[in-house]
Amino acid sequence: MEELSLLANGFGVILTWQNIGLMMIGILLGIIVGVLPGLGGPNGVAILLPLTFGMSPTSAIILLSCIYWGALFGGAITSVLFNIPGEAWSVATTFDGYPMAQNGQAGAALTNAFSGSFIGAITGVLLITFLAPRVAAFALEFGPPEFFAVFFLTFCSFIGLGKEPKAKIMAAMGLGLLLAAVGMDTVSGDLRMTFGSRELMRGFDFLVVVIGLFGISEILITIEEGLAFKGKSAKIDLKVVLKTWAQLPRYFVTMIRSCVVGCWMGITPGGAVAASFMGYGLAKRFSKEPDSFGKGNPEGVLAPETAAHAAGTAALLPMLALGIPGSATAAVLLGGLMIWGLQPGPLLFTEQKDFVWGLIASMYLGNIAGLIIVLSTVPLFAAILKVPFSIIAPMILMVCAVGAYTVLGSVHDIWIMALFGIVGYIFKKLTYPLAPLVLALVLGDRLEDAFRQSMLTSKGSLDIFWSNGLCGSITTIAILLLISPAFGWIRDRIKASKSAESKFA
């Protein structure tokens, strides 16, 4: 157990008053960054990077990684309260978190979200602590066909596990893929579908689209249903935390499942966004009452949050062990490492023991501190819902607009946001699912790149996806998942015909 002594050493490095102070500041800043839609983890970390130039690398990474933890926690808050995902990975949290808040259970929803986040993050850290070198070696196995297989699996599981009509899921996914293709194409090196517009050249930013699809469309629907001038009742009581915790053991299996999915997606760079959707999809699939999902089932909050955080944390592993960023925020942290005079890469673990194990120790402490801070704010945030909608709606709109603008500092994006608000409204009216569109928009270009890189290698032969056991088995599972609804349909038909026979016999 060499890791344990190194970890103890790491705790020794970070347990100074200065570092603990930085940790608290980082978490608070991170929560703010996470709550404001559009600002986001990568931007928040990049903005604060210059503050750390004068610090020791260990103090600097503690501050910045705590901003990351804070942002991971904070992203859930606006999802639950206003149906506006503060971060991309909290989109799935809105599905049940927002209905729970509408039913007057905002406190319980937030507690579930935060507890799920914490459990996911700790699982991710444990993985980093004990398995880093082995997992890093496994990550090297992934070339273009393997990446394609992982993304393909994500898409197929969506179609296979989704409860909505398959055609609607695929239509939404198709639109998402189309939107993801706008802008510069990596493989051909030229622009696509920009129609000579300068604003379209950079493509559709995911956060701008999500703020519109979820936040704006929700406001439109609420207005249509009639403006309520009374706030929702929400009890300001810390006991809600304890009551929610008492329920947690019931969802043990869901949490394990989400942790596994999250760690897997974090290491193979599927990322936190895909992990949160898969966590949600699986929880719904294996639930005894799948119909209660989307209407305020606490499991629907717990599952995506746990998966997202396990993935977000595990994504730091390839960064530390290999020097490749598993997420956008990790990429900024990598840049920071170099400015502080450290060289990320395979030797970081052996050459910079104090730094690496200090960072890992700070992941434990940072998440514990984060959980305490966010839980203590639950009553405060839940109380926001007491404010009547007619007062809060204009404020939400303003925050959305500022958020959309902040992503890239472009006024044009505010119009894109408004446009997608209407798209979201139409989707909801026609009961098309939004999640497949969002997933396709996030992963679409990486799916396409991986596919075309594989095709370049194989000269156009699809055999490459079965060229080794790893990608062959993932691709096969993906296809089985895709056609699994057909099995159910055939089984039902056989049953139906049998029962029909027995009737006649």
Partner: protein
């Protein structure tokens, strides 16, 4: 004795007068450094090092803000600066992409829409292979690649950009055929090479140095007219200066990449001069030298007419190579 005191006094008087005479323009608000790449990449790091040097040495009173505008392979940032005519509070960290992107794609941009400030470094390219591969020299490698046309996978950043231009030059020089596979960034390419999903790549030194030191990659040659100057041991056995040039190793291909600073056109000569002077101060700091050495960047500081001539010549060179490779847009 008297004369020297006098001359010292004159010098002091001159140096004190000089700023008053030239630096009439000073920034009046925050300066924005546009980075036409995503956070974490080589250009982004360079911008952040510049920011750190200015802040630490207190070179400007105003704050520095870094804006990443990475859309459309960086064209978003370039066009943003080009269309902000007359704004003296905006500069951009640019690279060879200022000609390769408009040459290869329909992006409406020309580097002449920018006001060149200075070339602050040249980046090198190295031919890397996996350390467990049997090739220890360029000759062995090229011979093997020739035997199996299109079976050797060459990885690089983006399409029809620096890495693919080098690959095309290698093909033109040797007659070998590679399968070029574009990725989003050099870090990813390096890892893919370690994982043996590629046979080789032409990453910048900074993009692969970590894997080189960990003995996962092997450096075959550097695509420059002379070896890299840094003599400190990087791996257990090798320094940057131990890597032969490709030409001396038998592969006559040369390529280096410009890293420079530009600003919008339509600003006054004084404002341009302010930035030229600022960067002259930045490149003289020990922090900058340390940064160059760490990333094996070639020291270079070219401004004014010389820089303009360089840009025009370099653009023509790219047009010719890219034309021969069939990369020019239709």
């Amino acid at each position: 004795m008297k004369i020297s005191t006098l001359s010292v006094a004159t010098c002091m008087a001159l140096t004190m007068a000089a700023p008053a005479a030239y630096a009439q323009w000073q920034p009046t608000k925050a300066i924005e450094i546009v980075v036409p790449f995503s956070p974490g990449g080589a250009s982004d790091q360079m911008a952040r090092v510049v920011q750190a040097i200015i802040t630490k040495n207190n070179l400007i009173k105003q704050p520095i803000v870094i804006q990443n505008k990475a859309g459309a392979s960086g064209a978003e940032g370039l066009i943003d600066v080009a269309s902000d005519k007359g704004n003296p509070h905006k500069i951009i960290v640019a690279s060879t992409a200022i000609y390769t992107v408009p040459l290869a794609s329909s992006v409406p941009f020309n580097w002449r829409d920018l006001n060149p400030i200075a070339m602050i470094a040249q980046d090198q390219f190295v031919l890397w292979v996996n350390a467990s591969s049997p090739y220890t020299t360029v000759k062995e490698y090229i011979a093997a690649a020739k035997q199996k046309p299109e079976a050797f996978r060459m990885g690089g950043t983006s399409s029809k950009r620096e890495d693919q231009v080098i690959t095309a030059q290698m093909e033109q020089a040797t007659g070998a055929k590679f399968t070029y596979i574009p990725y989003k960034g050099g870090g990813e390419v390096s890892t893919q090479l370690v994982g043996k999903h590629l046979e080789s790549c032409t990453n910048n030194p900074s993009e692969s140095v970590a894997q080189w030191r960990a003995n996962q990659l092997r450096a075959l040659c550097v695509f420059d007219s002379s070896r890299i100057g840094y003599k400190t041991k990087i791996t257990e056995t090798q320094a940057w200066s131990d890597i032969p040039t490709c030409k001396e190793a038998g592969l006559d291909v040369q390529y280096t990449m410009l890293r420079g600073i530009f600003m919008p056109t339509g600003v006054t000569a004084e404002q341009t001069k302010f930035y030229v002077d600022l960067f002259a101060k930045i490149v003289a700091t020990p922090e900058w030298k340390e940064y160059l050495e760490k990333n094996a960047l070639k020291q270079e500081f070219v401004t004014g007419e010389a820089f303009n001539t360089f840009l025009a010549k370099d653009e023509n060179r790219h047009r010719e190579i890219m034309k021969a490779a069939g990369f020019l847009k239709q």
